[in-house]
């Protein structure tokens, strides 16, 4: 599973950087979104991909043993997703505003 996700993360990074290098401002925003997703998936993969091993301790255990799914990367991703969502919304509005605002004589002089 790790290998598949590694390929997906790599593909997302590649697509993100490719989009950002296009001469189209909206594709820049899409590229930024893809980069964010790639980083999130990378963190997710670092949290060990195991099925059916929640980080729950059984009675009389004082330490988690064996492989278990680490909850912290997931908490980190949640934070990063929320932040990324806000920033992408801002970026889209910004691009739209820049597209709609014309160059005026006054601004050209500056």
């Amino acid at each position: 599973m790790e290998v598949e996700l590694a390929v997906v993360v790599g593909a997302l990074y590649a697509a993100g950087f490719y989009m950002m290098m296009r001469r189209n401002i909206f594709k820049l925003v899409l590229g930024l979104a893809l980069l964010g997703h790639a980083a999130n998936l990378l963190i997710f993969t670092m949290g060990r991909l195991v099925r059916g091993h929640p980080p729950v301790m059984h009675t009389r255990e004082i330490q988690l043993r064996g492989l278990f799914a680490d909850p912290i990367p997931e908490a980190l991703i949640l934070t990063a997703i929320v932040i990324g969502f806000g920033i992408q919304a801002f970026a889209i509005v910004l691009v739209k505003r820049a597209h709609q605002t014309p160059w005026t004589d006054e601004t050209r002089l500056e």
């Binding site: 964010g36 963190i43 990367p73 920033i87 801002f90 014309p102």
Partner: protein, 502 residues
């Protein structure tokens, strides 16, 4: 445990919330800004005083013990930077009194500035790498809106460049954090330092160091990654570009200094050599970019980039003396660069131009302000006995001790070129007679534009601080060398945060 370390974050947040209550009362928002940031400045003074007297201060948020919860740490470096943030934000609020029209305030200028201040302070105080990322984002979101506020086309285009580059940096930083957590299993900086110095350091350390170097390098405007800065900083009104110039790039520099002294242990010589090379290139390319610029604030922006190199040179040389030099320069640079950008506001107000060839004659009409600029220009170029000189002196001395002659040569050459660039501005803007264009712009030749006091007083005060730091350098030197000693003593930091359990 001291809970007052939360105050530099809580005070701006409360001020922002209070400003929201006065959404339709711009004047009241400005009052909240000035009063709030004055209280805040007093608190930052108190923090520095406590840190000087009692050593490193640590707050475990929610009383979670160190590697599990979020830690706030104030060592001398953080305390000094928080103090300077307080000073610069207070200055900015005073200047905004006259320089920011109420139209901008009506769209949330004041709360945004508070939130920006909160983000910067959080970044300086946090002892947790992911928390640093969150503070970066808080700061960035506020700065995006501050940059774009006003909605003119050049400003919006500048914002797009700024947003794109900073988001790339954030994505790289986030990826670095993810991999770091995967290989080390912690994000608390003290715990990270402990693990990295442990018997089995993780293999990926050089890769991670490079990732963070690129991410922080973009934010700090380091050599190959600086081009977003001159493209975006000249666009917003002077108080905004002043606070950006003074503080935002310095957060990147701070993160570099912190991560490369604490998290990634010394001995990794390739990355230090790389930083030395990049700092030299930053200095040279930055100042060579500044010299041909005719636009005043673009010129200042390139100078700003160039002097980031001095801040990184101390890290590259990696000796306590060099670090003290860089920190002295950091204190000087925050004050001087803010002041420089505020001066651009004064000059543009007087000449109604942003092109230096079309300006002139300010010395004849405003000799006092011109004198202040002259002092500041000499200080920025590092002429003794002004504040820019001492940091450079320490760096040169450390460079000679470390046999880094090429770097020393670059530092001295950059100082000379800065002097050339600054004197060119002095003669174009202040010394030469008013050009015909400037006369047409002002409509009457003998017109004396009154300068608003809220703009002049902070500028004169900042020049005064710079002058005092130059004439009496020993307190600042003591602070800088103490901060640098603490940075090289990672064990004391780990001890303070982790509470003695190894």
């Amino acid at each position: 445990m001291n809970h007052f370390l939360v105050l530099p974050i809580v005070i701006p947040l409360s001020c922002a919330v209070i400003s929201f209550f006065f959404w339709r009362r711009p004047a009241l928002q400005k009052v909240v800004g000035v009063v709030g940031s004055s209280i805040w400045f007093a608190v930052t003074l108190l923090i520095l005083h406590t840190v000087r007297r009692e050593g490193i201060q640590v707050t475990q948020l929610g009383s979670w013990p160190a590697p599990f919860g979020i830690t706030l740490v104030a060592d001398t470096l953080s305390a000094v930077l928080v103090l300077l943030t307080g000073l610069i934000v207070l200055t900015t609020f005073i200047v905004s009194w006259s320089e920011i029209e109420s139209q901008r305030v009506a769209f949330g200028y004041c709360p945004l500035l508070h939130i920006l201040a909160m983000g910067i302070c959080g970044a300086f105080l946090t002892g947790d790498l992911f928390n640093l990322y969150v503070w970066f984002e808080v700061m960035l979101i506020a700065s995006f809106v501050l940059l774009g506020l006003g909605g003119k086309r050049p400003q919006l285009e500048a914002t797009i460049k700024y947003v794109a580059l900073n988001l790339i940096a954030s994505a790289l930083f986030l990826a670095g954090i993810g991999v770091l957590y995967g290989v080390v299993g912690t994000l608390n900086m003290a715990d990270l330092a402990q693990q990295m110095r442990g018997p089995s350091p993780p293999n990926l350390a050089p890769t991670l160091a490079t990732l963070l170097l690129i991410a922080f390098g973009i934010k700090a405007a380091m050599f190959p990654l600086f081009f977003w800065l001159p493209a975006s900083y000249p666009a917003p009104p002077p108080p905004v570009s002043a606070v950006f110039a003074g503080l935002l790039t310095k957060v990147g520099v701070y993160s570099l200094l912190r991560s490369f002294t604490l998290i990634f242990p010394p001995g990794n010589h390739t990355s230090l050599q790389l930083i030395t090379l990049l700092s030299a290139l930053t200095m040279l390319v930055g100042i060579l970019g500044a010299i041909p610029q005719k636009n005043l604030r673009r010129n200042f922006s390139f100078t700003l980039v160039s002097h980031i190199g001095y801040l990184l040179a101390g890290l590259g040389l990696f000796s306590p003396l060099a670090m003290a030099g860089s920190l002295f320069y950091l204190v000087h640079d925050i004050v001087a660069k803010t002041c420089l950008f505020l001066f651009s506001g004064i000059i543009e107000r007087l000449t109604m131009h942003s092109d230096i060839t079309k300006m002139g004659g300010i010395y004849r009409s405003h000799p006092l302000i011109s004198g202040c600029f002259f002092l500041l220009a000499l200080s920025v170029s590092g002429i003794p006995p002004l504040s820019g000189f001492w940091g450079k002196l320490l760096l040169v001395q450390a460079g000679l001790n470390g046999n880094a002659y090429n770097l020393v040569a670059v530092m001295l050459l950059t100082g000379l070129l800065t002097l050339y660039s600054m004197m060119k501005i002095w003669s174009e803007v202040f010394w030469k007679d008013s050009t015909r264009d400037a006369l047409v712009a002002s409509r009457s030749p003998e017109r004396v534009v009154p300068l608003p006091m809220p703009l002049v007083i902070p500028v004169v005060c900042l020049v005064g601080i710079s002058l005092l730091m130059g004439l009496f350098p020993s307190p600042v030197y003591e602070l800088a060398s103490e901060a640098s000693r603490q940075m090289f003593d990672a064990d004391a930091y780990i001890q303070a945060v982790m509470g003695g359990k190894r």
